[in-house]
Amino acid sequence: MEKSKIKIAREILRIRLSQMIINEGLKKDDFKIPIHLALGHEAVAVAVDAMIEGEDKLVLSHRNIHYNLARTKMLKPELDEYLLKKDGVAGGQLGSMNLANEERNIVYTSSILGNNLAVAAGIALGEKIKGSNGLVIVVAGDGAIEEGSFYESLVFLKSNGLSSLVLIENNCWSLATRIDERRCSIDVQKIAESLGFRYEKLVGNDTYQYIEKLKAVRQHVLENKTPAVVEVEITTLGGYYLKTEENPEPRFINYHAGPAPEISLREWPLIEESSRDPVFILLEYCRKSVLETASWEILEELKNEIR
């Protein structure tokens, strides 16, 4: 396996293990702030990180841990931020849901659903006026696309020819309700194409394929000075079934903020033996023993880092 591919695999494992360490802290109630884990979201975060170049800007939402870990390349500054320490990546001033890191191209993060789309449109307009060579990537979810600001922002991005990529992480959940429990189906492709956007869909958690596709979209956006929409099918891993007196039928709980109680820190961080888990997909490219060794090394490095 070539070195660059191993590097990507190690990144997936590092972000997974970092989140598992944070999850242990969440279970012990170590944090005063709400933290939204993104177990299962690692592939797209690593792919975006690999795609980003010099003047690109990244605009995030409340569930941003995977992008922040991917961009910062370290756990300790994130952990310190969550603990509201001065050594945190934002000096303990932003916590989790608004965590940005300008030095690593994350220029704005919003805790409000759909809020970041409009701000990203403004950033993209500003960059166009300044003659920037980059694009603005804004991350939203299947909940945010229900907000009016999603449509408004797409119209503005296209009307003003702004180099931008709207990345929609579709995990089918908004808080405790699945899409089919709260609304009709939204065909993002039709919406995007009706406004003249290029549309791509990422499915299967293959980070290597994601990187290639995102790089192609980036090139298209910059060459044509036009926005694009990329929809990513994602499963937030670590959910569980709960039976109560009120609801005797076991109900699946997609934890929103807080711990994934059934996930434990372990040297080999696979959660699910299916394509819903980006770690599982790595096995298509690399022997399990190699990944297990890498995972053990990374876990030791992380433990040393935060010691």
Binding site: Q93, N98, A100, V107, Y108, T109, S110, S111, I112, N115, L117, A118, V119, A120, A121, G122, I123, A124, L125, G126, E127, I129, K130, G148, S149, E152, S153, V155, F156, S159, N160
Partner: protein
């Protein structure tokens, strides 16, 4: 704005048709853009803050303040993110406050101060030629964020051109006359009423001090308090429909330091029908006020 690097002037119909009833007529920029935008007030508020993050200044001209309701999330949440650090770029929202009652339901919301109070946003009300020049020159393009409100009712009247004798450096308190008989303080867009009272007082040989508080939320009003200590008579005029009138804060501060001989508060009577189209002018009995001041 002609001299500002990379400024964006945006809003619906700002360079088309009546140009927001003349408000945005003949806009020009040396470098940057003038954009007639789509009808998306929430997004347009966010865009101004996004431009700030990109270090590009902008002004969002808004036909009616009511539409700002759609952008309230950005006034609070996005602005809070921006102002943690001292921004180098400027963002101003300039709405027309619908205080001309014949607009009906929309006129029920002329509470400029409430928008500013939401997230402690600096605000400035333009009420005459003097404060217009001073506030626009110092605030329209200046690092940071603020809202500058203009009145639809006043746009139909001749702009009052009167010499000032004082304004604070923040552009939030203006004084137009100094007198010993009473202190008259105008809030929101009520300066024209105060000016009328001043002229009628002068005819009767009554000397009043005339102030306008151009900040829609409590500000530094030490000069007004000092003046009231001298006159011991206070007339407050506030044409906002807010439940939280800014003049209440001034009364509170004044009563801490002065024992007033007379206090007259002129505000809206909200017990009647204020939702239907109406003339919406404050009905002021100037002669009665002057009698009270005299005695």
């Amino acid at each position: 704005m002609l001299e500002t690097e990379n400024i964006v002037l945006f809003g619906q119909n700002i360079a088309a048709g009546s140009c927001l009833s003349g408000l945005t007529k003949n806009l020009r920029v040396r470098k940057g853009l003038i954009i007639n935008t789509q009808n998306s007030e929430n997004t347009l508020c966010g865009i101004g803050f996004g431009l700030m993050i990109s270090k590009v200044s902008s002004v969002f001209f808004m036909k009616q303040q009511d539409f700002l309701l759609l952008g309230v999330d950005h006034l609070a949440n996005t602005y809070n993110f921006i102002r943690r650090k001292k921004p180098s770029a400027s963002f101003t929202i300039m709405p027309v406050v619908i205080d001309q009652g014949y607009q009906g339901l929309q006129s029920s919301l002329n509470n400029f101060g409430d928008f500013c109070s939401l997230a402690r946003v600096p605000g400035f009300a333009i009420t005459n030629k003097v404060d217009a020049e001073e506030i626009i020159n110092s605030q329209l393009v200046s690092p940071g964020f603020r809202i500058i409100g203009v009145s639809q009712r006043l746009s139909k009247e001749e702009l009052i051109d009167v010499g000032k004798i004082y304004s604070n450096k923040e552009g939030t308190v203006f004084q137009y006359a100094e007198g010993k008989d009473a202190t008259v303080v105008c809030f929101n867009f009520s300066f024209s009423y105060g000016w009328e009272l001043y002229k009628k007082a002068k005819e009767k040989g009554i000397d009043i001090s005339l102030f306008s508080v151009n900040a829609p939320t409590p500000t530094k009003w030490g000069r007004i308090i000092e003046n009231t200590k001298e006159t011991n008579k206070l007339v407050l005029i506030d044409d906002s429909k807010s439940e939280n009138l800014s003049c209440y804060s001034l009364i509170n501060d004044i009563l801490d330091e002065c024992s007033l001989e007379n206090k007259i508060l002129i505000k809206r009577d909200m017990t009647g029908d204020w939702l239907s189209p109406n003339l919406e002018l404050l009905e002021i009995d100037y002669q009665n006020i002057l009698e009270k001041i005299r005695h």
